[in-house]
């Protein structure tokens, strides 16, 4: 493999890695990631077919809420190298892609843990109203995710040995990777607590508990919960004697009435 190809692989797998966390441009999907890798490696037809095959397998891999799916980014880049440079069949490429996707998931958990530090550095920068620093922190966090994919991919490209990468990943103690994954499931409570402290009004906290209990028992979509919450909000405002001022309302008659209707309409929006 030429130096130029290795550089291109590094750049493209960085873009793929960034894409995997952004989930905007979809460069991390096998259909795109494998096709471009094939182009770089000089066998676009094989890359295209591998991308299509892997894409169909990965159709259901999606990030819902705060959870992570298997990592299609690393799976795509590494399996393309092994199929085209390593001379493996498409079937073998798929077989390699699946454990690599699981390994990539572990790596992204690490990356999303490291970026907690970026969040805290941004809080520090906010104390000085340093706009530039906050922007730089935000965008440089992307490099963590870019390197997460480009370093293992480039290593495989240079040595064409998936075993080496797998051995390196296995060297990470299971208790740490497993523990971080477990913690990744609930670390967000700190974020919840901060925002709750900002918006909580003590006498309205029952609505928080109401949401919690209903959320635990009802299998509704979040949209449906939004509608239920909105209904509670409207009922609360309408029935609250604090907002009813009968004497004034009568005096101002129709005008104030239409004003009130308008107010409720706005709230619904």
């Amino acid at each position: 493999m030429s130096i130029l190809q290795i550089i291109l692989i590094f750049i493209w797998s960085s873009i793929v890695g960034s894409g995997s966390v952004l989930d905007e441009f979809q460069t991390h999907r096998p259909l795109i990631a494998c096709s471009i890798m094939g182009l770089i490696l000089g066998d676009p037809a094989k890359g295209l077919v591998l991308g299509g095959t892997l894409e169909l397998i990965a159709l259901g891999w999606m990030n819902i809420g705060a959870a992570q799916s298997p990592d299609s980014a690393l799976a795509s880049t590494i399996s393309t190298i092994l199929v085209i440079v390593g001379g493996q069949s498409i079937g073998k490429g798929i077989a390699i892609a699946l454990p690599v996707a699981a390994a990539g998931q572990v790596l992204t958990v690490f990356a999303r843990t490291i970026t907690v530090a970026f969040q805290h550095a941004a809080v520090k920068a906010a104390e000085n109203a340093n706009f530039r620093a906050i922007e730089i922190l935000h965008f440089s966090a992307l490099f963590v995710q870019a390197l997460r994919v480009s370093i293992p991919t480039t290593l495989v490209a240079v040595f064409v040995s998936p075993d080496m990468v797998k051995a390196m990943l296995d060297a990470l103690p299971k208790v740490v990777t497993g523990g971080l994954t477990v913690a990744g499931g609930f670390i967000v409570v700190v974020g919840y607590a901060m925002i709750l402290n900002m918006m909580s009004v003590k006498y309205l906290m029952p609505f928080f508990y109401l949401g919690f209990v209903l959320g635990g028992y009802l299998k509704l979509s979040l949209l449906a919960f939004g509608i239920v919450g909105l209904i509670f909000a409207i009922l609360y405002v309408q029935l609250n004697p604090k907002f009813a001022h009968p004497v004034k309302a009568v005096a101002e008659s129709n005008q104030s009435n239409s004003g009130g209707d308008l107010a409720d309409d706005e709230l619904e929006d």
Partner: protein, 282 residues
């Protein structure tokens, strides 16, 4: 003369087309700093930077606004527009002296993000992407480059449209809302938004947090059948999501006691590793 001066000063604190466009660009990197603590917290703050820079001129106000928007936020990335737009309008209104307090802004954000994620996740990840990807993959398998190309351009076309028009919609609606804010509406909005926001937070605490405690409490054998009862099953019978609620309330208490959030984060990571190592958490 004096009037003209204040007029000019006021114009300078109104959001411009450039600010809105810059926000739109930033929105395309909504998950760049995805982190387990605040998910899109840092990203939302960056989305708000053009607004904060425009509408607030004193350092004190800017610091407060920046910190306000570093808080927890999470939504399907393609659906962040309406929330960002309405928040921009609220901040502009606040800077012009409308009595929109911090809690109202936060509550609106939370109240909108939950339902939007509820629409966005199934629509983008469960419908649009699988359909386009399956179409693209079938073309790719026939060796056609139209496969990846159609997938890329169609998906991103829809996504960019949602981001841009979502942002405009949120901003326009928000500005209209701020303009109409008068008399009785503002306290109504404040309380109503807080009710909605707190309700959604309650739902999210149980839906978006994963804690599993497979600790075996009892093992009973009746007629050759072994029934294993785990701690998690007992908790779920009481009420689903109790550990998440307990942890959230504990964190709220500790944060109020001025415990550094970094310490809390490390403690929770420690808890995760320790619990996993001992087989209590999974």
């Amino acid at each position: 003369m004096e009037d003209k001066k204040t007029e000019i000063a006021k114009e300078k604190t109104k959001l411009t087309k450039k600010d809105i466009f810059q926000t739109f660009i930033f929105e395309n990197f909504q998950q760049a700093s995805f982190n387990f603590e605040t998910i899109h917290g840092l990203a939302f703050c960056v989305d708000m930077i053009p607004t904060i820079r425009r509408v607030y001129k004193s350092k004190e106000e800017r610091v407060k606004a920046l910190k306000r928007h570093l808080a927890f936020f999470n939504v399907t990335p393609a659906f962040c527009g309406p929330v960002v737009g309405i928040t921009m309008a609220m901040e502009q209104g606040r800077s012009e002296g409308e009595e929109i307090d911090e809690g109202t802004i936060q509550s609106l954000k939370v109240g909108l993000m939950g339902p939007l994620a509820g629409v966005g996740d199934p629509l983008m990840w469960g419908t649009l992407r699988p359909i386009l990807a399956a179409l693209g993959a079938s073309l790719a398998l026939q060796g056609s480059w139209f496969g990846p190309l159609i997938f890329f351009f169609a998906f991103n076309g829809v996504r960019l449209g949602l981001k841009w028009y979502g942002l405009k919609l949120g901003l326009d609606r928000g500005l209209a809302l701020v303009k109409d804010i008068s008399g009785n509406l503002l306290p109504k909005l404040t309380e109503g938004a807080t009710v909605l926001g707190l309700f959604i937070m309650g739902v999210l605490v149980t839906k978006w947090t994963t804690i599993n405690i497979p600790l075996v409490v009892s093992r009973t054998t009746t007629g050759g059948k072994t029934t294993v009862t785990t701690f998690q099953q007992i908790l779920d019978q009481l009420c689903p999501g109790l550990p998440a609620l307990g942890l959230t309330l504990l964190m709220m208490y500790l944060l109020k006691k001025k415990v550094n959030p970094i310490i809390l984060i490390f403690a929770l990571f420690g808890l995760g590793i320790l619990g996993y190592g001992l087989g209590i958490l999974k």
